[in-house]
């Protein structure tokens, strides 16, 4: 680890240092110079930091303190990739404000893959759930990595669908890696560490505050070739991500929805104002990424009954009762038929015992 890397990791330890301040401090010192040793003697430092901040930082000037931190991060399998590291993702480096260091846990080779960010509302409607699953499944089957923010709603569905289909996925957290947020997704995060990746620009000890979420979105946009937004309300944070993507010259894919639907207002607005791509199928994204669709889609032998059920629930979700009335099957039999379809990934079971085609 070089002196420059250590400088960055040291600066990252202080939650009160914003990205801009850290940049400015780094500029005060030349490359390869240990900031800690000449921190107090630098006369310009007082122009950037308050006395209070300086006194807090001067308590931590000891090299051993930093060593202990780094040791702990290493023993927790946290990989630190600074902006000087050749492993630092190229796409992210191109952006206006690349994070100084990425604290990663999991498979960091994923940083080097073609990826699409999938973000959206925390309260998706059935439409959002189904489209997210459909798009993510198709994308991961064509080796596209899914980047998202581990939030509840669309983010969670995106991560989970990717995992279910043995795809690759990256979660970008707002807080440090010791503070997985939201707590509901702790187990999902643990699962992602096994073969996939979670990362944050914040030092592991820093807990997430509301301020970090919008700036975190720039990393989600920066890591990906494009951002797909299946559903978002008018004030959704995913619109920030789209805005960043647009600024970074990345594609913004929005799935259009009903104009009356609260959760499609954001996506429809993106199409109108930001000229986001009207995305009607995953193929469109694959084409834009110049990926030849691989047809490893499994062929499932469907009998006439399965086919007729699939045709029946094609357009809109149908409740169990409606399907039962349509097929005239006894409940016991219909239960197993629907489970078979669900296990083959042809239908998705939604809340309230209703089904929709995937």
């Amino acid at each position: 680890m070089t002196i420059d890397d250590r400088n960055i990791i040291w600066l990252d330890l202080f939650p009160f240092l914003t990205y801009q301040k850290k940049k400015k401090i780094l500029e005060l010192f030349s490359k390869g110079q240990d900031i800690k040793s000449s921190f107090l003697s630098n006369k310009y430092i007082r122009e950037i930091l308050t006395d209070d901040e300086i006194s807090k930082m001067s308590n931590m000037l000891d090299n051993q303190i930093l060593d202990r931190y780094i040791e702990r991060f290493n023993s927790d399998n946290i990989i630190m990739i600074t902006i000087n590291d050749p492993k630092y993702p190229k796409l992210l480096l191109e952006t206006a404000s690349p994070p100084l260091c990425l604290y990663c846990k999991g498979n960091i080779q994923l940083l080097d893959t073609v990826s699409i960010a999938v973000v959206g509302t925390r309260r998706p409607s059935d439409y959002g759930i189904v489209t997210t699953k459909q798009f993510v499944k198709e994308l991961v089957q064509n080796d596209v990595t899914i980047v998202s923010g581990l939030a509840v709603g669309i983010d969670t569905i995106a991560h989970k669908t990717a995992l279910e289909n043995q795809g690759k996925t990256i979660a970008v957290l707002a807080g440090g890696l010791y503070h997985i947020y939201p707590a509901v997704n702790q187990s999902l995060a643990r699962k992602m560490i096994e073969n996939n990746l979670i990362l944050s620009e914040n030092s592991p000890n820093i807990s997430p505050t509301t301020y970090y979420f919008p700036i975190r979105n720039r990393i989600i946009a920066g890591l990906s070739s494009g951002v797909l937004i299946p559903e978002a309300s008018e004030k959704s944070g995913s619109l920030h991500t789209a805005k960043y993507a647009d600024d970074f010259n990345r594609e913004v894919y929005a799935i259009p929805g009903k104009i009356t639907s609260e959760m499609s207002k954001g996506t429809n607005m993106l199409i109108k104002e930001l000229k986001a791509h009207i995305t009607l199928s995953p193929d469109f994204i694959l084409e834009a990424l110049h990926i030849d669709k691989n047809n490893k889609n499994f062929n499932i032998q469907l009998d006439i009954l399965d086919q007729s059920i699939l045709n029946y629930i094609q357009t809109e979700k149908k409740t169990f009762q409606e399907i039962a009335d349509f097929t005239h099957l006894p409940t016991s039999e219909l239960n197993s038929v629907l489970l078979e379809l669900e296990m083959n990934g042809l239908v998705t079971k939604l809340a309230n015992n209703s089904y929709i085609k995937t």
Partner: protein, 510 residues
């Protein structure tokens, strides 16, 4: 002068003999009860005195000492009024002590000498019979209850005067008829019948399975979907009580004093639905006298918890141990009592705080965190003990406006009874009645799967992220489904259907 009369006491649902010893001494008139008697027994003074006088006998103007042996056990209740009164009459030499030999006497007196009904007659008589007592004098109002115990002589009495005449041999009292359990069974007329529940095919099917295998079930759905109505129909498809089960239920109901005196024995499976404000003690049993709680009253029947997340968390958590063991131990400072509590839990809940998550008619307004918090009010271990999760959707207008009736409960019940007969046959050597109560050994034996099913289960576990806990539950339910189908082995389709009922394991929310 010393009189000795045999009576009986009650702890929990088992009885113990109490000997009432009575002595009359010279001295200032008085009435002393010793032997850890409660207030009801001490107050017997006034009732006994008035009853004796009003039956035109003499009340001694001397010091009366009454001892309830064994002296170190707490006695409670009003059943000792009659034996004490008879003891005084023995002391007064109106009747002889010999005439009372071998009789167990129980009864509460009213001031005019009439004998009133008691709680807990059945359990006392059953345990007295086991102890070798076989002659009883009990209140007439309790006669029905006693008539289902065979090989004992029960003399139902109405007044103190009548008892005295009987003991003097002046009159005879007809012995209580012994009735068979079958004669008590009548054509059930349930208030709620599945014939009147429109649609909801999947929920009905799940309830049929629950009834057949004794599985716990939770209904999840928006307000007005008919969860409560479905639950209320549930007793109408439950298998008939067997005599042994009925005696267990009647004992508890007799102790709690909720037995119908005209019926005498419980012939329908109990359906208890405590309100969600119910306290822990109300549910588990307890209080000063360690009375049975709702879960014991629901023994061999149904405990219905409407809107389960509304119950206090610690209240429903206490259900975990009895749900596993089938009994509850109520410990109070004076006594420790074990009550059976082997019930089918039927619970209902909304999918989220506002109730409309996933509803086809209304838009849900809850945040994901709010939904998560709501669902986590029911802990994993508790959910783990509920075999069937079923979602109920609200019915649309077209369904409601159909006039033809649905399949009546009586038809469903026939299938349930058939499946239950198979289980009774299967478990005839063990102490359980249903698939839900299988232990590990029985589980291994009766829930074996072939290769095809094992593979299917493995795929399903991966696909739906099922927890290891779900494994046993799914197989037990599959066993019941196979029984309903009349099949010896669990087949693929049975297993598939069973997996469908683990909604909450499949991670209900996103």
């Amino acid at each position: 002068m010393l009189a000795k009369i045999l009576s009986y006491g009650l702890t929990g649902i088992s009885g113990y003999p109490v000997e009432i010893q009575l002595d009359i001494n010279a001295g200032l008139p008085g009435y002393d009860v010793v032997g850890l008697a409660d207030t009801a027994i001490k107050e017997s003074k006034s009732r006994v005195k008035a009853a004796i006088k009003n039956s035109s006998f003499n009340y001694p103007i001397n010091k009366i000492i009454i001892n309830l042996a064994p002296a170190d056990t707490k006695k409670e209740g009003s059943m000792y009024d009659l034996p004490i009164a008879l003891g005084i009459l023995v002391a007064e030499e109106i009747i002889t002590n010999k005439s009372l030999e071998n009789f167990v006497v129980l009864g509460e007196l009213s001031l005019n000498g009439e004998i009133r009904k008691l709680n807990g007659i059945l359990p006392m008589l059953i345990s007295a019979k086991q102890m070798g007592f076989n002659k009883f004098i009990i209140p007439k109002e309790n006669a029905m209850e006693a008539s289902f115990i065979d090989k004992i002589e029960v003399y139902p009495v109405e007044t103190l005067k009548q008892v005295v005449s009987f003991l003097k041999g002046e009159i005879t009292i007809e012995k209580n008829d012994c009735k068979t359990f079958e004669s008590a069974l009548k054509e059930h007329d349930y208030k709620h019948d599945f014939a009147y529940v429109k649609g909801q095919a999947s929920a009905k099917r799940a309830m049929e399975i629950a009834a057949a295998g004794g599985h716990n079930i939770i209904l999840i759905g928006p307000p007005g979907a008919g969860k409560t109505m479905l639950a209320k129909c549930f007793p109408s498809i439950l298998p008939d009580l067997t005599f042994e089960e009925s005696l267990e239920v009647t004992k508890i109901h007799s102790v709690a004093g909720v037995l119908d005196p005209k019926q005498g024995i419980v012939v329908e499976r109990p359906f208890r639905s405590p309100h969600h404000t119910a306290t822990l003690i109300a549910l588990t049993g307890g209080g000063q006298k360690a009375k049975p709680g709702e879960i014991s009253l629901a023994h061999n029947g149904v405990l219905f918890l409407d809107e389960m997340p509304e119950y206090a968390r610690n209240t429903i958590e206490t259900l975990r141990q009895p749900m596993e063991d089938g009994y509850i131990t109520v410990a109070r400072n004076a006594l420790t009592v074990q009550y059976p509590a082997n019930f089918i839990l039927v619970a209902s809940m909304n999918p989220c705080p506002c109730g409309y998550y996933g509803s086809t008619t209304n838009q849900c307004k809850c945040t994901a965190t709010a939904i998560h918090n709501y669902l986590s009010k029911i802990s994993g271990p508790l959910l783990d003990r509920i075999d069937l999760h079923i979602e109920v959707d609200s019915i649309n207008y077209e369904d409601l406006s159909h006039y033809e009736l649905e399949e009546p409960s009586s038809e469903i019940k026939k299938r349930v009874n058939r499946a239950r007969d198979i289980q009774l046959q299967r478990f005839k050597d063990s102490k359980i009645y249903s698939n839900a109560k299988m232990n590990e050994k029985e589980f291994k034996k009766y829930c074996a799967l072939d290769k095809d099913c094992t593979d299917l289960l493995e795929i399903a576990f991966k696909r739906f992220n099922l927890t290891a806990r779900a494994y046993n539950r799914i197989l037990k339910v599959a066993r019941t489904i196979a029984d309903l189908d009349g099949k010896e082995n669990i087949e693929r389709k049975h297993l598939m259907e069973a997996i469908q009922y683990r909604t909450l394991d499949k991670k209900y929310t996103v």
